[in-house]
């Protein structure tokens, strides 16, 4: 049975988008700086979720996994959001270059001519407006191109038995992994790390990747639970859910590991250029955000998802998943805001409205895409393994 995107669910996503629009208008009137920063935050957050879905498809092709084949239409649908998220980032880069906002304050000509760190480092080559724009276009074009290929291959496989499409998927999967290995770090340096333009950390890209993958897995699981709640996807059983939850659990710990490695090494060495970044986050009101997101993203899944039964309970997983999404949103909040708006931050109607609006847009795009195809990739060569999955 196919998924139909209509009725209450559709209305809800449209209503969410309406709230988002209202909050943007409201924000532009009251505090425009916060709107720009939140556009980057939400633009990146949901782009990251769509990217994580694409990464999930690629890694399972290359790893020749079988268990996931029954639910792979969900990440495929999520990947269709990539162009939408991409447009937001691209628009921000262009408006930044035009001087409309100063999230990336190194874009300012005065800064580029006078800042001594900028002038005495690779930044004067790497962080130039045109090069920045070109890189942004390359990342987005590459990801979107490959995500479209995965969708195409999967659709063709529906009417074509045999291994030919699957083998093509493996080739494109490997291509995506190679491209993503480089661009995931670089895009994180560009869009996020360069906000705090004097700061640098080699681990930063991997840390952002870990958060991205957790958020993507959570969203995938939540959409799956929504479909099952409607009586769809009966071939996906509690064992698949258990596997997704295990990945969620493991990558939450992995995210913590990377956050801690980055923090601890900088704290321990206490070099002024590096430690400033954490002083801005720990010795200010941002402390509240940092500590809450650490509790949510680490302690919370560690304690709750440890037990086997928890990882197989749809009810509990929906709650944990929703809270984890908030946690990773807050993680990006404390990455972006201290550099972008300094102490003029708040969590008010602008912030809450915009995240709801973007969530509405993301769900609208994803669920529309989901409704246009069969929910089961019938000719996936490993489908039988997924159908009889039991752990």
């Amino acid at each position: 049975m196919n998924y139909t995107f209509a009725g209450k669910t559709k209305m809800l996503t449209i209503a969410l988008m309406g709230i988002g629009l209202a909050s943007i208008v409201y924000g532009f009137v009251m505090t425009p700086d916060r709107v720009w920063a939140n556009l980057l935050l939400n633009g990146f957050f949901f782009l990251a979720i769509a990217l994580a879905a694409t990464f999930f498809i690629a890694v399972n092709y290359v790893g020749e996994a079988g268990w996931h084949s029954g639910l792979k239409r969900i990440p495929e649908a999520m990947s269709t959001y990539l162009p939408f998220g991409g447009i937001v980032i691209l628009a921000l880069v262009v408006t930044g270059m035009l001087g409309v906002h100063d999230i990336w304050h190194w874009m300012d000509h005065h800064f580029q001519e006078t800042d001594s760190v900028y002038l005495n480092s690779g930044k004067k080559v790497y962080l130039t407006n045109t090069f920045f724009l070109v890189r942004t276009i390359v990342y987005l074009a590459g990801w979107i191109f490959l995500a479209i290929q995965f969708r195409k291959i999967s659709l063709k496989e529906d009417s074509l038995k045999g291994m030919s499409m699957h083998k093509k998927g493996i080739v494109f999967g490997a291509a995506f992994l190679v491209f993503f290995a480089v661009t995931s770090s670089m895009s994180a340096w560009d869009w996020l790390m360069s906000i705090d333009v004097h700061w640098y950390s080699t681990l930063f890209g991997w840390y952002i990747f870990a958060g991205l993958f957790v958020s993507g897995l959570v969203m995938m699981l939540l959409i799956l639970l929504h479909l099952k709640n409607q009586g769809l996807m009966q071939w996906v059983n509690e064992n698949h859910i258990h596997d997704l939850a295990k990945l969620m659990f493991a990558f939450s710990i992995f995210w913590t590991y990377l956050w801690f490695s980055q923090y601890m090494l900088i704290w321990y060495s206490n070099i002024p250029e590096e430690i400033n970044y954490f002083l801005e986050r720990f010795n200010t009101d941002y402390r509240l955000i940092v500590i809450s997101m650490l509790i949510i993203n680490f302690l919370f899944p560690l304690l709750i998802l440890m037990h086997r039964n928890a990882k197989r309970s749809p009810m509990l997983l929906s709650i944990v998943g929703a809270i984890l999404l908030v946690g990773h949103y807050l993680d990006l909040f404390q990455v972006i805001m201290p550099g972008a708006v300094k102490d003029k931050w708040n969590i008010g109607f602008t912030e809450v409205g915009m995240v709801l609006g973007f969530l509405g847009l993301f769900l609208f795009v994803t669920l529309s895409a989901l409704s246009k195809r069969k929910l089961l990739a019938e000719n996936h060569p490993f489908l039988n393994e997924s159908r009889q999955h039991h752990i």
């Binding site: 079988g66 690779g122 930044k123 290995a181 640098y200 080699t202 890209g205 090494l265 159908r387 009889q388």
Partner: protein
Amino acid sequence: MNVESPIREPLILGNKSYHQITEDICKPIEGRANKLWYLVFTVAAICALWGVGLIAYTFGTGIGVWGLNKTVGWAWDITNFVWWVGIGHAGTLISAILLLFRQKWRMAINRSAEAMTIFAVICAAMFPAIHVGRVWVVYWFFPVPNQLGSLWVNFNSPLLWDLFAISTYFSVSLGFWYIGLIPDFATVRDRQIKPIMKKIYSVLSFGWSGNVKTWQRFEEVSLVLAGLSTPLVLSVHTIVSMDFATSIVPGWHTTIFPPYFVAGAIFSGFAMVATLLIIMRKVLNLEEYITINHLESMNKIIVVTGSIVGVAYITELVIAWYSGVQYEHYAFLNRATGPYAWAYWIMMSCNVISPQLFWSRKIRRSLVATFMLSIVVNIGMWFERFVIIVTSTHRDFLPSSWTMFYPTFVDIGIFIGTLGIFFTLFLLFSRAFPVIAIAETKSILKISGDGWKKKTEELYEKVGESEHHH
């Protein structure tokens, strides 16, 4: 998983039965060693003795017999330590993480990889112990009371964390490995004819009876140990990397070190497993259990981890350039173009460029190519540690202290000695222990054995045909 797709390659060849598996794996223990084994064993044992002799010489004379100097106070000893610990990682990854990912191909290789882990950690642990020079006070490493009342360990030091990490790692790995061996020792015991050997294996197997309750406990313990080992895979090399990264030495202080050291460790560990298994499967006639398919899977892990290491190298270079910190700039410039540039380019070509050959399926499935590349990777990973350690220390903040490091025959000899100890232990293991996990391999026979896969396929076809008739 109950069902395996027919398009997956079989993991056990030769249409084996349960009994045949027991026969094949127990054969090396029950038979006599051939001449080749004695030859290799003699060479390994001589190397080991040479190393032990030089360690004794170091104790007798002092650390001055090594090539260290005032500026380079850490060189071969720590390079070898990190290299050996890294090699150990593959065993833990195979036994714990591949278990969690339900990779059935691990069954053929986990036993010998875990043995390798233990022997590698033994070799690694020797270096911190001998580098103190006065080995009789080596217990000062530990937080235990000693005769110098005020002398206490520094809990802020990553070197102490390392001590805890390595000893925990060693204990858990040994426990995991030994518990897996118990049912297999029982199998060997039941087949022994000589009373002394029967007695020995009987003790080793802890009186294993093989009833349902013992199996159930066995599986529970295995799962708990797998859960404990998984964070250990990450933590051990993370803490090894912190020995360097917590400092403010240019080239050492970089936040990517923890995950990148872990990836490098798995990379070198898999290369060593490949080297050992390619020889072992031939010498012990286990080609039907450790197949080309197994080697291909390991080669895929080698190309992935090698590429992760490559991305980390490039990240370090780019961020050193991006940050504009002149010390970092210089550290990397010196690595790539300074007096140790030869070592840097050996590292780059062995670790980043050569594993890319494994993108070709033909090379991944070639025994000769895999064997050669596995050795290349191990050379590259030794040089990686050498480059990180020596190039960062030999050019001090004070140019007047700049110097070079040249190893003496003692440095080289002790390293060769650890290779000798490692191979001696591994050769003894291959004669006395079941080198493939018998019970675990049997558990996948009916899913992944070639004979059973064929039968299942025929059954599917029959069902398909009868449906067609209706």
